[in-house]
Amino acid sequence: MTTSVVPDPSLFPRISTGNEQADEVLCGGFPANSINIIMGQPGTGKTIFAEQLLFENASADRPILYVTTLSEPLSKVVSYVQRFSFFDADKLGTEIQYEDLGAELARDGPAALVPHLRETIQTISPKIIVIDSFRAIHDLSDSVPEMRRMISNLAGLLSSYDVTAFLLGEYTTADIQRYPEFAVSDAIIELARQPLGTRDERFLRVIKLRGSGYREGQHAFRITGNGIDLFPRLVAPRVAPDYQVRLDRSSTGVPGLDEMLEGGIWSGTTTLLVGPTGSGKTTIALRFALEGISRGEPTLYVNFQENPAQLARAMSNFGTDVEHATSSGLELLYVSPVELQIDSFVVELFQRIKTGSLRRVVIDAVGDLAAAASDVPRLHDYLYSLVQHFAVCGVTSLLTFESGLSSTGGDMHEQRFSYMSDNVIQIALGGEERTRRTIRIIKTRNSGHDPVVRELVIGATGARVS
Protein backbone atom coordinates (compact mmCIF):
# COMPACT_ATOMS: atom_id res chain seq x y z
CA MET A 1 0.00 0.00 0.00
CA THR A 2 1.40 3.37 -0.96
CA THR A 3 -1.22 5.74 0.35
CA SER A 4 -1.74 6.22 4.01
CA VAL A 5 -5.27 6.62 5.21
CA VAL A 6 -5.65 9.08 8.04
CA PRO A 7 -9.04 8.45 9.59
CA ASP A 8 -10.99 11.25 11.18
CA PRO A 9 -10.14 10.78 14.88
CA SER A 10 -13.61 11.86 15.98
CA LEU A 11 -15.08 8.94 14.05
CA PHE A 12 -12.68 6.49 15.64
CA PRO A 13 -12.32 7.40 19.29
CA ARG A 14 -9.85 5.61 21.57
CA ILE A 15 -10.10 4.09 25.01
CA SER A 16 -7.17 4.98 27.25
CA THR A 17 -5.44 2.17 29.14
CA GLY A 18 -4.95 4.52 32.09
CA ASN A 19 -1.21 4.35 31.48
CA GLU A 20 0.43 6.99 29.35
CA GLN A 21 3.19 4.73 28.08
CA ALA A 22 0.82 1.89 27.19
CA ASP A 23 -1.32 4.40 25.29
CA GLU A 24 1.81 5.46 23.45
CA VAL A 25 2.54 1.84 22.49
CA LEU A 26 -1.04 1.56 21.20
CA CYS A 27 -0.78 4.91 19.37
CA GLY A 28 -3.50 6.42 21.53
CA GLY A 29 -5.21 3.50 23.26
CA PHE A 30 -7.65 0.79 22.26
CA PRO A 31 -10.09 1.64 19.50
CA ALA A 32 -13.54 2.26 20.98
CA ASN A 33 -16.36 -0.15 20.06
CA SER A 34 -13.91 -2.97 19.59
CA ILE A 35 -13.32 -6.48 20.89
CA ASN A 36 -9.95 -6.84 22.52
CA ILE A 37 -8.11 -9.80 23.98
CA ILE A 38 -5.70 -9.48 26.90
CA MET A 39 -3.83 -12.76 27.04
CA GLY A 40 -1.15 -14.14 29.31
CA GLN A 41 -0.33 -16.90 31.73
CA PRO A 42 -1.61 -16.66 35.32
CA GLY A 43 0.20 -13.97 37.27
CA THR A 44 1.24 -11.89 34.30
CA GLY A 45 -0.92 -8.90 35.27
CA LYS A 46 -4.00 -9.23 33.03
CA THR A 47 -6.49 -8.39 35.74
CA ILE A 48 -4.46 -5.41 36.96
CA PHE A 49 -4.11 -4.15 33.41
CA ALA A 50 -7.87 -4.39 32.93
CA GLU A 51 -8.76 -2.88 36.31
CA GLN A 52 -6.49 0.10 35.73
CA LEU A 53 -8.22 0.68 32.41
CA LEU A 54 -11.66 0.43 34.03
CA PHE A 55 -10.98 2.91 36.80
CA GLU A 56 -9.47 5.28 34.24
CA ASN A 57 -12.61 5.13 32.11
CA ALA A 58 -15.24 4.99 34.84
CA SER A 59 -17.68 7.88 34.80
CA ALA A 60 -21.22 8.58 35.86
CA ASP A 61 -22.78 8.57 32.39
CA ARG A 62 -22.66 4.83 31.66
CA PRO A 63 -21.34 2.00 33.80
CA ILE A 64 -18.59 -0.51 33.17
CA LEU A 65 -19.34 -4.19 33.64
CA TYR A 66 -16.77 -6.68 34.88
CA VAL A 67 -17.96 -10.25 34.43
CA THR A 68 -16.08 -13.09 36.07
CA THR A 69 -16.58 -16.62 34.80
CA LEU A 70 -15.07 -19.78 36.11
CA SER A 71 -11.48 -19.11 36.96
CA GLU A 72 -11.54 -15.88 38.91
CA PRO A 73 -13.74 -15.79 41.98
CA LEU A 74 -15.39 -12.38 42.10
CA SER A 75 -14.44 -11.74 45.71
CA LYS A 76 -10.79 -12.25 44.88
CA VAL A 77 -10.83 -9.85 41.96
CA VAL A 78 -12.54 -7.15 43.99
CA SER A 79 -10.50 -7.51 47.15
CA TYR A 80 -7.19 -7.56 45.29
CA VAL A 81 -7.84 -4.39 43.32
CA GLN A 82 -8.23 -2.36 46.54
CA ARG A 83 -4.45 -2.37 47.00
CA PHE A 84 -3.85 -0.13 44.02
CA SER A 85 -3.82 3.65 44.09
CA PHE A 86 -6.25 3.87 41.17
CA PHE A 87 -8.93 2.07 43.21
CA ASP A 88 -11.89 4.22 44.15
CA ALA A 89 -14.49 2.60 46.38
CA ASP A 90 -17.12 5.17 45.41
CA LYS A 91 -17.19 3.84 41.88
CA LEU A 92 -17.95 0.26 42.90
CA GLY A 93 -21.45 -0.95 42.26
CA THR A 94 -22.33 2.20 40.33
CA GLU A 95 -19.77 3.24 37.76
CA ILE A 96 -18.07 -0.15 37.85
CA GLN A 97 -20.32 -3.14 38.40
CA TYR A 98 -19.03 -6.62 39.05
CA GLU A 99 -20.95 -9.73 38.23
CA ASP A 100 -20.19 -13.41 38.74
CA LEU A 101 -21.52 -15.45 35.85
CA GLY A 102 -19.73 -18.67 36.83
CA ALA A 103 -22.73 -20.52 38.21
CA GLU A 104 -25.00 -19.54 35.33
CA LEU A 105 -22.49 -20.63 32.73
CA ALA A 106 -21.79 -23.89 34.55
CA ARG A 107 -25.52 -24.63 34.65
CA ASP A 108 -26.62 -23.49 31.19
CA GLY A 109 -23.41 -23.78 29.18
CA PRO A 110 -21.58 -21.22 27.02
CA ALA A 111 -24.73 -20.35 25.05
CA ALA A 112 -26.05 -18.53 28.14
CA LEU A 113 -23.47 -15.77 27.74
CA VAL A 114 -24.86 -13.84 24.78
CA PRO A 115 -28.52 -13.57 25.93
CA HIS A 116 -27.23 -12.50 29.32
CA LEU A 117 -25.07 -9.76 27.81
CA ARG A 118 -27.91 -8.61 25.56
CA GLU A 119 -30.12 -8.20 28.61
CA THR A 120 -27.34 -6.34 30.38
CA ILE A 121 -26.99 -3.95 27.45
CA GLN A 122 -30.72 -3.34 27.54
CA THR A 123 -30.82 -2.72 31.27
CA ILE A 124 -27.64 -0.84 32.15
CA SER A 125 -26.15 0.32 28.80
CA PRO A 126 -22.55 -0.52 29.70
CA LYS A 127 -19.83 1.30 27.82
CA ILE A 128 -17.16 -1.29 28.59
CA ILE A 129 -17.56 -5.02 29.26
CA VAL A 130 -14.72 -7.16 30.63
CA ILE A 131 -15.01 -10.95 30.65
CA ASP A 132 -12.48 -12.59 32.95
CA SER A 133 -11.64 -15.33 32.05
CA PHE A 134 -13.03 -15.85 28.60
CA ARG A 135 -10.77 -18.79 27.93
CA ALA A 136 -12.29 -20.65 30.85
CA ILE A 137 -15.62 -20.74 28.98
CA HIS A 138 -14.02 -23.13 26.49
CA ASP A 139 -13.69 -25.66 29.30
CA LEU A 140 -17.47 -25.83 29.54
CA SER A 141 -17.97 -27.18 26.07
CA ASP A 142 -16.53 -30.10 24.16
CA SER A 143 -18.33 -28.91 21.08
CA VAL A 144 -16.22 -26.79 18.76
CA PRO A 145 -19.26 -25.80 16.65
CA GLU A 146 -21.13 -24.69 19.77
CA MET A 147 -18.26 -22.42 20.82
CA ARG A 148 -17.89 -21.07 17.28
CA ARG A 149 -21.60 -20.24 17.15
CA MET A 150 -21.47 -18.58 20.52
CA ILE A 151 -18.41 -16.48 19.64
CA SER A 152 -19.84 -15.42 16.29
CA ASN A 153 -23.04 -14.44 18.05
CA LEU A 154 -21.09 -12.61 20.73
CA ALA A 155 -19.05 -10.70 18.15
CA GLY A 156 -22.29 -9.76 16.36
CA LEU A 157 -23.88 -8.44 19.52
CA LEU A 158 -20.82 -6.55 20.75
CA SER A 159 -20.09 -4.92 17.42
CA SER A 160 -23.68 -3.80 16.91
CA TYR A 161 -23.66 -1.77 20.10
CA ASP A 162 -21.66 1.19 21.38
CA VAL A 163 -19.53 -0.88 23.75
CA THR A 164 -15.87 -1.84 24.03
CA ALA A 165 -15.14 -5.38 25.18
CA PHE A 166 -12.09 -6.92 26.77
CA LEU A 167 -11.75 -10.69 26.88
CA LEU A 168 -9.12 -11.80 29.37
CA GLY A 169 -7.64 -15.27 29.26
CA GLU A 170 -4.73 -17.54 30.12
CA TYR A 171 -4.10 -18.12 26.43
CA THR A 172 -0.84 -19.39 25.02
CA THR A 173 0.57 -18.36 21.67
CA ALA A 174 -0.68 -21.64 20.19
CA ASP A 175 -4.25 -20.72 21.20
CA ILE A 176 -4.21 -17.80 18.76
CA GLN A 177 -4.56 -20.23 15.86
CA ARG A 178 -6.95 -22.50 17.70
CA TYR A 179 -9.64 -20.33 19.22
CA PRO A 180 -12.12 -18.35 17.11
CA GLU A 181 -12.21 -15.33 19.44
CA PHE A 182 -8.80 -14.31 18.09
CA ALA A 183 -10.22 -14.05 14.58
CA VAL A 184 -13.04 -11.72 15.67
CA SER A 185 -10.86 -9.57 17.91
CA ASP A 186 -9.69 -6.09 16.95
CA ALA A 187 -6.70 -6.06 19.28
CA ILE A 188 -4.61 -8.71 20.98
CA ILE A 189 -2.26 -7.77 23.81
CA GLU A 190 0.03 -10.35 25.34
CA LEU A 191 1.44 -10.04 28.83
CA ALA A 192 4.36 -12.33 29.63
CA ARG A 193 6.80 -13.05 32.40
CA GLN A 194 10.30 -14.36 31.81
CA PRO A 195 12.70 -15.45 34.49
CA LEU A 196 15.97 -13.54 34.60
CA GLY A 197 18.39 -14.75 37.25
CA THR A 198 16.62 -14.49 40.58
CA ARG A 199 14.02 -12.07 39.22
CA ASP A 200 11.31 -12.07 36.60
CA GLU A 201 11.00 -9.59 33.81
CA ARG A 202 7.52 -8.71 32.58
CA PHE A 203 6.72 -7.79 29.03
CA LEU A 204 3.77 -6.44 27.11
CA ARG A 205 3.48 -7.11 23.40
CA VAL A 206 0.89 -6.00 20.86
CA ILE A 207 0.08 -8.90 18.56
CA LYS A 208 -2.71 -7.23 16.63
CA LEU A 209 -4.30 -3.79 16.52
CA ARG A 210 -6.75 -3.34 13.70
CA GLY A 211 -6.84 -0.05 11.86
CA SER A 212 -3.95 1.48 13.76
CA GLY A 213 -0.21 1.54 13.96
CA TYR A 214 1.45 0.42 17.19
CA ARG A 215 4.91 0.00 18.63
CA GLU A 216 6.14 -3.47 17.86
CA GLY A 217 8.17 -5.73 20.08
CA GLN A 218 8.34 -6.45 23.76
CA HIS A 219 7.84 -3.56 26.15
CA ALA A 220 9.00 -4.18 29.70
CA PHE A 221 6.75 -3.32 32.60
CA ARG A 222 6.62 -3.51 36.37
CA ILE A 223 3.63 -3.77 38.63
CA THR A 224 3.69 -1.11 41.31
CA GLY A 225 1.16 0.26 43.75
CA ASN A 226 0.03 2.54 40.94
CA GLY A 227 -0.65 -0.35 38.59
CA ILE A 228 1.26 -1.03 35.41
CA ASP A 229 4.49 0.92 34.93
CA LEU A 230 5.52 0.41 31.32
CA PHE A 231 8.75 1.18 29.48
CA PRO A 232 8.17 1.34 25.75
CA ARG A 233 10.92 -0.22 23.70
CA LEU A 234 13.22 2.45 22.42
CA VAL A 235 13.41 3.21 18.77
CA ALA A 236 16.01 5.37 17.07
CA PRO A 237 14.93 9.01 17.04
CA ARG A 238 13.53 10.70 14.03
CA VAL A 239 16.13 13.33 13.43
CA ALA A 240 14.86 16.67 14.65
CA PRO A 241 14.72 19.29 11.89
CA ASP A 242 16.99 21.55 13.89
CA TYR A 243 19.54 18.82 14.56
CA GLN A 244 22.95 20.23 13.93
CA VAL A 245 26.26 18.52 14.34
CA ARG A 246 28.26 20.32 16.99
CA LEU A 247 31.46 21.71 15.57
CA ASP A 248 33.38 22.12 18.79
CA ARG A 249 35.59 19.64 20.60
CA SER A 250 35.23 18.47 24.17
CA SER A 251 38.28 18.11 26.33
CA THR A 252 38.72 14.72 27.99
CA GLY A 253 40.32 16.34 31.03
CA VAL A 254 43.26 13.94 30.73
CA PRO A 255 46.50 15.80 30.02
CA GLY A 256 48.07 14.50 26.84
CA LEU A 257 44.97 12.64 25.64
CA ASP A 258 43.40 15.69 24.00
CA GLU A 259 46.58 16.14 21.99
CA MET A 260 46.33 12.56 20.75
CA LEU A 261 42.76 13.39 19.68
CA GLU A 262 43.79 16.55 17.82
CA GLY A 263 42.26 18.77 20.46
CA GLY A 264 39.65 16.60 22.16
CA ILE A 265 36.71 14.54 20.98
CA TRP A 266 34.03 16.00 18.74
CA SER A 267 31.20 17.24 20.90
CA GLY A 268 28.02 15.21 20.50
CA THR A 269 29.88 12.00 19.71
CA THR A 270 30.12 8.76 21.65
CA THR A 271 33.45 7.38 22.80
CA LEU A 272 34.04 3.82 23.94
CA LEU A 273 36.83 3.40 26.45
CA VAL A 274 37.95 -0.23 26.55
CA GLY A 275 40.36 -1.78 28.97
CA PRO A 276 40.88 -4.61 31.44
CA THR A 277 39.98 -4.32 35.08
CA GLY A 278 42.28 -2.03 37.01
CA SER A 279 43.51 -0.22 33.92
CA GLY A 280 42.12 3.19 34.92
CA LYS A 281 38.86 3.42 32.99
CA THR A 282 36.89 4.87 35.89
CA THR A 283 39.65 7.38 36.61
CA ILE A 284 39.55 8.63 33.03
CA ALA A 285 35.75 8.60 33.01
CA LEU A 286 35.66 10.69 36.19
CA ARG A 287 38.20 13.10 34.73
CA PHE A 288 36.01 13.43 31.66
CA ALA A 289 32.96 14.15 33.84
CA LEU A 290 34.73 16.68 36.06
CA GLU A 291 36.21 18.42 33.03
CA GLY A 292 32.65 18.89 31.80
CA ILE A 293 31.62 20.41 35.14
CA SER A 294 34.57 22.78 35.15
CA ARG A 295 33.43 23.99 31.73
CA GLY A 296 29.90 24.55 32.95
CA GLU A 297 28.47 21.52 31.10
CA PRO A 298 25.82 19.62 33.09
CA THR A 299 27.07 16.05 33.32
CA LEU A 300 25.44 12.75 34.25
CA TYR A 301 27.64 10.01 35.61
CA VAL A 302 25.98 6.59 35.59
CA ASN A 303 27.64 3.90 37.58
CA PHE A 304 26.84 0.29 38.40
CA GLN A 305 29.86 -0.72 40.45
CA GLU A 306 30.94 1.95 42.92
CA ASN A 307 28.29 3.20 45.27
CA PRO A 308 28.07 6.98 45.77
CA ALA A 309 30.43 6.93 48.78
CA GLN A 310 33.12 5.07 46.86
CA LEU A 311 32.75 7.41 43.95
CA ALA A 312 32.96 10.46 46.22
CA ARG A 313 36.21 9.14 47.66
CA ALA A 314 37.68 8.62 44.19
CA MET A 315 36.72 12.14 43.26
CA SER A 316 38.12 13.72 46.37
CA ASN A 317 41.41 11.98 45.51
CA PHE A 318 41.53 14.27 42.50
CA GLY A 319 41.02 17.19 44.82
CA THR A 320 37.39 17.52 43.87
CA ASP A 321 34.78 18.42 46.41
CA VAL A 322 31.83 16.18 45.57
CA GLU A 323 29.28 18.55 47.02
CA HIS A 324 30.69 21.39 45.02
CA ALA A 325 30.69 19.23 41.88
CA THR A 326 27.09 18.13 42.32
CA SER A 327 25.96 21.69 43.00
CA SER A 328 27.79 22.72 39.81
CA GLY A 329 25.86 20.34 37.61
CA LEU A 330 27.23 16.86 38.22
CA GLU A 331 24.53 14.27 38.58
CA LEU A 332 25.49 10.89 39.96
CA LEU A 333 23.21 7.99 39.15
CA TYR A 334 24.04 4.78 40.91
CA VAL A 335 22.10 1.69 39.94
CA SER A 336 22.83 -1.55 41.73
CA PRO A 337 23.57 -4.23 39.14
CA VAL A 338 21.29 -6.56 41.09
CA GLU A 339 18.32 -4.24 40.63
CA LEU A 340 19.19 -3.25 37.13
CA GLN A 341 16.39 -3.69 34.63
CA ILE A 342 17.62 -2.64 31.24
CA ASP A 343 14.36 -1.30 29.89
CA SER A 344 13.50 0.92 32.80
CA PHE A 345 17.08 2.11 33.04
CA VAL A 346 17.41 3.02 29.39
CA VAL A 347 14.03 4.74 29.38
CA GLU A 348 14.99 6.79 32.43
CA LEU A 349 18.28 7.76 30.85
CA PHE A 350 16.54 8.65 27.63
CA GLN A 351 14.05 10.86 29.45
CA ARG A 352 16.79 12.69 31.31
CA ILE A 353 18.54 13.42 28.04
CA LYS A 354 15.36 14.57 26.39
CA THR A 355 14.14 16.82 29.17
CA GLY A 356 17.38 17.99 30.75
CA SER A 357 20.15 20.28 29.69
CA LEU A 358 22.80 17.54 29.87
CA ARG A 359 25.92 18.03 27.78
CA ARG A 360 27.97 15.03 28.93
CA VAL A 361 27.02 11.50 29.93
CA VAL A 362 29.28 8.77 31.28
CA ILE A 363 28.11 5.16 31.53
CA ASP A 364 30.52 3.16 33.64
CA ALA A 365 30.33 0.42 32.48
CA VAL A 366 28.16 -0.64 29.57
CA GLY A 367 29.27 -4.24 30.12
CA ASP A 368 27.17 -4.25 33.29
CA LEU A 369 24.16 -3.54 31.15
CA ALA A 370 25.08 -6.50 28.97
CA ALA A 371 25.31 -8.74 32.04
CA ALA A 372 21.81 -7.71 33.13
CA ALA A 373 20.25 -8.08 29.71
CA SER A 374 18.13 -11.13 29.07
CA ASP A 375 18.02 -10.35 25.40
CA VAL A 376 21.38 -9.30 24.01
CA PRO A 377 20.31 -8.17 20.51
CA ARG A 378 17.75 -5.95 22.17
CA LEU A 379 20.40 -4.41 24.41
CA HIS A 380 22.41 -3.59 21.32
CA ASP A 381 19.35 -2.02 19.72
CA TYR A 382 18.80 0.01 22.87
CA LEU A 383 22.33 1.26 23.07
CA TYR A 384 22.38 2.07 19.39
CA SER A 385 19.19 4.04 19.80
CA LEU A 386 20.55 5.75 22.91
CA VAL A 387 23.72 6.77 21.09
CA GLN A 388 21.57 8.23 18.31
CA HIS A 389 19.64 10.23 20.88
CA PHE A 390 22.92 11.48 22.35
CA ALA A 391 23.94 12.72 18.93
CA VAL A 392 20.63 14.43 18.19
CA CYS A 393 20.64 16.13 21.60
CA GLY A 394 24.29 17.17 21.28
CA VAL A 395 25.36 15.14 24.32
CA THR A 396 28.99 14.04 24.40
CA SER A 397 29.18 10.58 25.92
CA LEU A 398 31.81 8.24 27.24
CA LEU A 399 31.04 4.55 27.69
CA THR A 400 33.51 2.35 29.50
CA PHE A 401 33.80 -1.33 28.75
CA GLU A 402 35.80 -3.93 30.62
CA SER A 403 37.63 -6.18 28.20
CA GLY A 404 39.20 -9.51 29.00
CA LEU A 405 42.73 -9.30 30.39
CA SER A 406 44.20 -10.26 27.06
CA SER A 407 42.21 -7.45 25.43
CA THR A 408 42.09 -9.28 22.16
CA GLY A 409 38.97 -7.41 21.18
CA GLY A 410 37.25 -10.67 20.35
CA ASP A 411 34.34 -10.10 22.68
CA MET A 412 30.99 -9.92 20.90
CA HIS A 413 29.75 -6.95 22.93
CA GLU A 414 33.01 -5.12 22.46
CA GLN A 415 32.71 -5.46 18.70
CA ARG A 416 29.13 -4.26 18.72
CA PHE A 417 29.83 -1.38 21.07
CA SER A 418 32.87 -0.35 19.02
CA TYR A 419 30.78 -0.40 15.91
CA MET A 420 28.14 1.93 17.36
CA SER A 421 30.66 4.34 18.93
CA ASP A 422 32.21 7.23 17.04
CA ASN A 423 35.54 6.92 18.82
CA VAL A 424 37.29 4.00 20.46
CA ILE A 425 40.12 4.33 22.93
CA GLN A 426 41.87 1.26 24.30
CA ILE A 427 43.92 0.90 27.46
CA ALA A 428 46.19 -2.13 27.93
CA LEU A 429 48.20 -3.46 30.85
CA GLY A 430 51.75 -4.55 30.08
CA GLY A 431 55.07 -5.24 31.70
CA GLU A 432 55.99 -8.20 33.88
CA GLU A 433 53.75 -7.18 36.74
CA ARG A 434 51.09 -5.94 34.35
CA THR A 435 51.41 -2.54 35.94
CA ARG A 436 52.50 -0.61 32.88
CA ARG A 437 49.55 1.04 31.21
CA THR A 438 49.43 1.99 27.59
CA ILE A 439 46.75 3.91 25.74
CA ARG A 440 45.93 3.79 22.06
CA ILE A 441 43.31 5.44 19.94
CA ILE A 442 41.73 2.88 17.68
CA LYS A 443 39.27 5.03 15.82
CA THR A 444 37.96 8.58 15.66
CA ARG A 445 35.12 9.33 13.31
CA ASN A 446 35.63 12.39 11.10
CA SER A 447 38.88 13.29 12.77
CA GLY A 448 42.54 12.43 12.60
CA HIS A 449 44.30 11.04 15.66
CA ASP A 450 47.69 10.02 16.94
CA PRO A 451 47.95 6.28 16.22
CA VAL A 452 50.98 5.72 18.46
CA VAL A 453 50.70 3.59 21.58
CA ARG A 454 51.58 5.86 24.46
CA GLU A 455 52.11 5.41 28.14
CA LEU A 456 49.24 6.17 30.47
CA VAL A 457 50.08 7.18 33.99
CA ILE A 458 47.44 6.78 36.65
CA GLY A 459 48.33 8.40 39.92
CA ALA A 460 46.55 9.32 43.09
CA THR A 461 45.51 12.62 41.59
CA GLY A 462 44.32 11.45 38.20
CA ALA A 463 45.53 10.31 34.81
CA ARG A 464 47.84 11.67 32.18
CA VAL A 465 49.40 10.52 28.94
CA SER A 466 53.18 10.84 28.81
Partner: protein, 153 residues
Protein backbone atom coordinates in the same frame (compact mmCIF):
# COMPACT_ATOMS: atom_id res chain seq x y z
CA UNK B 1 -27.07 -6.94 41.66
CA UNK B 2 -27.57 -5.07 38.41
CA UNK B 3 -28.57 -1.52 38.89
CA UNK B 4 -28.89 1.60 36.87
CA UNK B 5 -25.97 3.91 37.45
CA UNK B 6 -26.71 6.97 39.49
CA UNK B 7 -27.22 9.59 36.86
CA UNK B 8 -25.71 12.69 38.31
CA UNK B 9 -25.92 14.59 35.06
CA UNK B 10 -29.47 15.93 34.86
CA UNK B 11 -29.06 17.02 31.25
CA UNK B 12 -29.24 13.40 30.10
CA UNK B 13 -32.39 12.79 28.11
CA UNK B 14 -34.48 10.13 29.80
CA UNK B 15 -35.26 7.19 27.56
CA UNK B 16 -38.81 6.84 28.65
CA UNK B 17 -40.89 9.93 28.48
CA UNK B 18 -44.52 10.79 28.92
CA UNK B 19 -44.18 13.34 26.20
CA UNK B 20 -46.97 11.87 24.08
CA UNK B 21 -46.96 14.97 21.96
CA UNK B 22 -43.92 13.74 20.09
CA UNK B 23 -43.92 10.02 20.47
CA UNK B 24 -47.60 9.20 20.43
CA UNK B 25 -48.47 7.05 17.45
CA UNK B 26 -45.10 7.65 15.88
CA UNK B 27 -44.21 4.65 13.73
CA UNK B 28 -40.64 3.94 12.79
CA UNK B 29 -39.65 1.71 9.88
CA UNK B 30 -36.27 0.15 10.58
CA UNK B 31 -34.44 -1.16 7.50
CA UNK B 32 -31.69 -3.39 8.79
CA UNK B 33 -30.21 -6.76 8.00
CA UNK B 34 -28.08 -7.31 11.11
CA UNK B 35 -30.23 -9.19 13.65
CA UNK B 36 -28.27 -7.85 16.63
CA UNK B 37 -28.70 -4.23 15.58
CA UNK B 38 -32.36 -4.91 14.73
CA UNK B 39 -33.11 -6.44 18.13
CA UNK B 40 -31.42 -3.68 20.09
CA UNK B 41 -32.89 -0.92 17.94
CA UNK B 42 -36.37 -2.36 18.42
CA UNK B 43 -35.86 -2.70 22.13
CA UNK B 44 -34.64 0.84 22.71
CA UNK B 45 -37.14 2.47 20.36
CA UNK B 46 -40.02 0.54 21.93
CA UNK B 47 -38.77 1.49 25.34
CA UNK B 48 -38.80 5.13 24.26
CA UNK B 49 -42.45 4.76 23.28
CA UNK B 50 -42.27 4.29 19.51
CA UNK B 51 -43.89 1.65 17.35
CA UNK B 52 -41.37 -0.22 15.21
CA UNK B 53 -41.79 -2.05 11.90
CA UNK B 54 -39.03 -3.88 10.05
CA UNK B 55 -37.76 -4.46 6.57
CA UNK B 56 -34.56 -6.29 5.67
CA UNK B 57 -34.09 -4.94 2.15
CA UNK B 58 -34.64 -1.68 0.30
CA UNK B 59 -37.38 -2.85 -2.06
CA UNK B 60 -39.50 -4.26 0.76
CA UNK B 61 -38.87 -1.06 2.71
CA UNK B 62 -40.14 1.10 -0.16
CA UNK B 63 -43.32 -0.96 -0.42
CA UNK B 64 -43.87 -0.72 3.32
CA UNK B 65 -43.20 3.01 3.28
CA UNK B 66 -46.02 3.46 0.75
CA UNK B 67 -48.34 1.08 2.60
CA UNK B 68 -47.91 2.01 6.26
CA UNK B 69 -46.70 5.64 5.93
CA UNK B 70 -44.18 5.58 8.79
CA UNK B 71 -43.16 8.84 10.47
CA UNK B 72 -39.50 7.96 10.17
CA UNK B 73 -37.45 5.49 8.19
CA UNK B 74 -34.18 4.50 9.81
CA UNK B 75 -32.06 2.71 7.26
CA UNK B 76 -28.60 1.22 6.95
CA UNK B 77 -26.84 2.06 3.67
CA UNK B 78 -25.79 -1.54 3.17
CA UNK B 79 -29.09 -3.35 2.62
CA UNK B 80 -29.82 -5.67 -0.33
CA UNK B 81 -31.82 -5.05 -3.54
CA UNK B 82 -32.03 -1.29 -3.08
CA UNK B 83 -29.39 0.33 -0.90
CA UNK B 84 -30.31 2.77 1.83
CA UNK B 85 -29.26 5.85 -0.13
CA UNK B 86 -31.27 4.82 -3.21
CA UNK B 87 -34.21 4.06 -0.94
CA UNK B 88 -33.91 7.53 0.54
CA UNK B 89 -33.86 9.17 -2.90
CA UNK B 90 -36.96 7.24 -3.98
CA UNK B 91 -38.84 8.05 -0.78
CA UNK B 92 -38.03 11.75 -1.20
CA UNK B 93 -39.02 11.73 -4.89
CA UNK B 94 -42.41 10.02 -4.47
CA UNK B 95 -45.15 12.56 -3.51
CA UNK B 96 -46.83 9.85 -1.46
CA UNK B 97 -43.84 9.41 0.83
CA UNK B 98 -41.76 12.58 0.51
CA UNK B 99 -42.85 13.91 3.93
CA UNK B 100 -41.44 10.80 5.61
CA UNK B 101 -38.33 11.61 7.60
CA UNK B 102 -35.29 9.54 6.64
CA UNK B 103 -32.43 8.85 9.03
CA UNK B 104 -29.43 7.05 7.58
CA UNK B 105 -27.86 4.90 10.30
CA UNK B 106 -24.81 3.13 8.96
CA UNK B 107 -21.49 1.50 9.63
CA UNK B 108 -20.20 3.62 6.74
CA UNK B 109 -19.04 7.18 7.29
CA UNK B 110 -21.53 8.32 4.62
CA UNK B 111 -22.76 11.61 6.00
CA UNK B 112 -22.05 13.55 2.79
CA UNK B 113 -23.69 10.96 0.57
CA UNK B 114 -26.66 10.79 2.93
CA UNK B 115 -27.23 14.54 2.63
CA UNK B 116 -26.88 14.36 -1.15
CA UNK B 117 -29.54 11.64 -1.20
CA UNK B 118 -31.88 13.99 0.67
CA UNK B 119 -31.72 12.31 4.08
CA UNK B 120 -32.88 14.36 7.05
CA UNK B 121 -30.14 13.12 9.33
CA UNK B 122 -27.19 10.78 9.52
CA UNK B 123 -25.87 8.73 12.43
CA UNK B 124 -22.92 6.43 12.44
CA UNK B 125 -23.01 3.01 14.04
CA UNK B 126 -22.57 1.40 16.49
CA UNK B 127 -25.88 1.87 18.17
CA UNK B 128 -25.83 4.27 21.09
CA UNK B 129 -29.41 4.45 22.28
CA UNK B 130 -29.36 7.94 23.76
CA UNK B 131 -28.02 9.43 20.58
CA UNK B 132 -30.46 7.45 18.45
CA UNK B 133 -33.54 8.25 20.55
CA UNK B 134 -32.72 11.93 20.91
CA UNK B 135 -32.14 12.22 17.17
CA UNK B 136 -35.47 10.55 16.44
CA UNK B 137 -37.25 12.89 18.87
CA UNK B 138 -35.60 15.93 17.37
CA UNK B 139 -36.57 14.87 13.84
CA UNK B 140 -40.17 14.25 14.86
CA UNK B 141 -40.37 17.58 16.62
CA UNK B 142 -38.92 19.33 13.60
CA UNK B 143 -41.38 17.57 11.31
CA UNK B 144 -44.26 18.59 13.55
CA UNK B 145 -42.99 22.16 13.37
CA UNK B 146 -42.40 22.19 17.07
CA UNK B 147 -39.33 22.92 19.08
CA UNK B 148 -38.11 19.84 20.98
CA UNK B 149 -39.46 19.82 24.51
CA UNK B 150 -36.29 18.28 25.86
CA UNK B 151 -33.07 19.43 24.35
CA UNK B 152 -31.36 16.46 22.75
CA UNK B 153 -27.90 15.70 24.00
Amino acid sequence: MMQKPSLSTPSTTPLITNDRHVSHNAIILVVERDPHVRDLEAFFLNEAGFGVEFATDGVAALEMARAIKPDIIITEVLVPRLDGLALCRQVKRDPATRRTVVLIFSILAAEGRAREAGADAFLMKPLAERRLVSTVRELLARQAGLAPTTSPT
